[in-house]
């Protein structure tokens, strides 16, 4: 779950990380009111869950409440990086002297959180890593020990902080780590951490939460809802509501597989034979007929999809259940589209028989099936 900037900043505040004064607004009117309360120049920031917002014109500055109203009017309803802006964050404009970066991210290779700090704040950390990797200070945090304040001090000292600033930045980094652990963050960043005449301030905030841990953070879901849906397509949102593991692609061959690896391999193979997949749809393990039906119907009713390729390797998943689901989907939607099914494993015989009766031929090999589905479309 990716939180929006204002949501992440609320969590930051819970942990005592300094953030600029500000509030969310969903109309120009509200934006003006917030600016009036702040009573100094403000920034009006589009709340969208994608990076590079500043460069794309998603941040405007305003000297007066009226200017803030106008800026909000320009942003709200506009589309930035393919995402519609529904809310803006209006907050005090900071007097930024320097931009630093602090982050805590899950690092796969060390199997641990890694704390990151650099004096090159304000740009994406990947960019810094590509351009000046030596400017990034990294520390792998032992999951059984945690991040000690003294380690945090040593890190921020190395990005050029001294005295009070060093102590405050170290304190912020320790809090950021505690937040990461307690909130099950996959990634949390303060970028930039602004050096201002008044001290350090989290000018922007990023917080992605491990979806597998959301059951520990129901309060968060209640507070913020599902703002990450913002950058999904219509059909992806619909799939999420249905509980399907679905990603939209731009081709015309609908793909269903069981298991993420197998489904990806299916996409890759179709592409290898010159086809263009319309989606990724993973049934997961042991899908019953109802789930298969839902998945197949979902693709049958997608006008972009011109043919469907179902690739099942039956283990926990039973081929007869798959067959029943496929047949039911065709019947209930009443939509006929060319369909290629490759299905082997548990209850293969029963499944094949059911499909053959319904006039759907089954293949043994996924390569053969991929070739077939591509040629079906080619022949039209």
């Amino acid at each position: 779950m990716r939180l929006l900037e204002w949501e992440a900043k609320e969590v930051f505040r819970d942990y005592g990380i300094p953030t600029p004064e500000g509030r969310i607004a969903s109309t120009p009117d509200e934006a003006r009111e917030v600016a009036e309360k702040i009573a100094q120049p403000v920034a009006v920031k589009a709340q969208i869950p994608v990076g590079g917002r500043g460069k794309a014109g998603g941040i405007l500055f305003a000297e007066t409440p009226e200017e803030a109203e106008e800026a909000a009017g320009r942003l709200l309803g506009s589309t930035i990086r393919d995402v519609e802006v529904r809310e803006v964050l209006v907050e005090e404009r900071l007097n930024i002297e320097r931009e630093l970066y602090l982050g805590v991210v899950v690092d796969r290779s060390s199997r641990a959180y890694t704390a990151l700090a650099t004096s090159e704040g304000g740009v994406e950390i990947e960019e810094v890593a590509a351009r000046t990797p030596e400017r990034i200070i990294r520390l792998t945090i032992d999951p059984l020990e945690g991040l000690r304040p003294h380690q945090a001090r040593w890190m921020v000292k190395q990005i050029g902080l001294e005295g009070r600033g060093m102590l405050t930045a170290a304190d912020i980094l320790v809090k950021l780590y505690r937040l990461a652990v307690e909130m099950d963050a996959e990634l949390t960043e303060i970028n930039p951490l602004a050096v201002t005449p008044e001290g350090l301030m989290a000018a922007d905030a990023r917080l992605n939460i491990d979806d597998n841990a959301l059951w520990r953070h129901r309060d968060l879901l209640e507070r913020f809802g599902e703002s990450e849906l913002l950058d999904l397509t219509e059909r992806e949102r619909e799939a999420k509501r249905l509980g399907l593991t679905y990603v939209e692609l731009d081709g015309d061959i609908g793909i269903i597989g069981n298991g993420a690896g197998l489904t990806m391999a299916t996409l890759d193979t179709v592409q290898l034979y010159g086809g263009k997949p319309a989606n990724f749809l993973d049934l997961g393990g042991g899908a019953p007929a109802e789930r298969v039906e839902m998945a197949v119907s979902f693709l049958l009713t997608d006008p972009r999809v011109r043919a469907i390729f179902i690739n099942i390797l039956g283990g926990i998943t039973r081929c007869d259940e798959v067959a029943r689901g496929v047949i039911a989907a065709r019947e209930k939607t009443g939509v006929e589209k060319p369909m290629v099914v490759r299905m082997i494993g548990t209850r293969e015989e029963e499944g094949r028989m059911l499909l053959e009766e319904a006039g759907i031929h089954c293949l043994d090999s996924m390569e053969e099936a991929a070739e077939r589905v591509v040629s079906l479309l080619g022949r039209r």
Partner: protein, 291 residues
């Protein structure tokens, strides 16, 4: 450097979470395969039995049997505690089938296991099989035939797909291990390669990778540096994936340069590991290498 332990005909196993639907089902299949399941554990269900396997409340009690290893089917919120129970009893390896464990929990128990030099396979893994001797997992038995090819994989059904091909062309498998589909797992390719390098029953290894992380790139470097010297073939899923979109599970997402299929394929090829274009090509590449 940690020592990796897998399984064989002698491995005696406890099934944690044996009374759940999945636990019961796979207990039967593992017993049918010949795996020595000597005890099961489900807190609060001590005294029952599943497929003739006695169930205990705690591993402490189950230890009236000699037990070497554990396989865990406990739901995600309780799975970490089950792992600690197995760790505290010194069981090794511990196969964590459970899907959906929060990353933070996995980081913690994996760190604990590494400190105690105990092998964790998974989480979110199909498990490990020594073909013909011991199946500690949920993989369908019929795709495997005994042979001399090892498989290391991040993916479940794709492994069965490829194993099936290898079996059909008459090569067969020695030991196959699923690393697990989560971003953090107990083992990575390098850990497993070290084990296969020493395994006298393995002549060649298949690496089945996918987008996300840089485990394949690191494995390629390890092979290039001479850490693994037997013939190896690879397959990487996710050439068509879009950066930033999760393809099905938390592991399969491209974030940064090193996570792409291209990066992995190039790394492996420059380590002289041929990478199959299609799953079925793995078996033929192997055949060529081994003949």
């Amino acid at each position: 450097m940690n020592m990796v332990r897998f399984v064989d005909a002698e491995t005696r196993v406890v099934v944690q979470g044996i009374t759940g639907r999945q636990g019961r089902f796979h207990t039967r299949l593992m017993l049918e395969y010949g795996t020595k399941l000597v005890a099961g554990v489900t807190p609060g269900k001590g005294g029952e039995s599943v497929e003739g396997v006695p169930v205990y409340d705690t591993i402490a009690e189950a230890l009236e049997h000699r037990i070497d290893a554990s396989i865990i089917f406990v739901p995600a919120p309780y799975a970490p505690d089950a792992v600690y129970e197995a760790l505290d009893a010194g069981l090794d390896p511990i196969v964590v089938i459970t899907e959906g464990i929060p990353i933070r929990d996995t980081m913690e128990f994996v760190a604990r296991a590494r400190r105690s030099d105990i092998t964790i396979i998974g989480p979110n893994t199909p498990g490990v099989i020594k073909v013909g001797e011991c199946k500690l997992g949920i993989m369908p038995a019929r795709v495997f035939t005994r042979g001399r090819v090892g498989i290391i994989s991040r993916s479940g059904t794709l492994t069965y797909e490829i194993a099936d091909h290898i079996s059909r062309i008459g090569l067969g498998e020695s030991t196959c291990v699923g690393l697990g589909g989560d971003p953090i797992t107990g083992l990575d390719f390098i850990d497993a390669l070290r084990w296969f390098e020493e395994d006298p029953q393995t002549d060649a290894v298949v690496l089945i990778g996918e987008i996300g992380g840089d485990a394949e790139e690191r494995a390629a470097e390890f092979i290039a540096e001479g850490g693994f010297t037997k013939p190896a073939v690879a397959y990487i899923a996710g050439r068509t994936a879009i950066p930033g979109k999760r393809m099905g599970h938390a592991g399969a997402i491209i974030q940064g340069e090193r996570g792409t299929a291209r990066s992995k394929i190039e790394a492996l090829e420059s380590a002289e590991v041929p990478v199959a274009e299609k799953p079925s090509d793995v078996a033929s590449l192997l055949k060529r290498l081994l003949s």
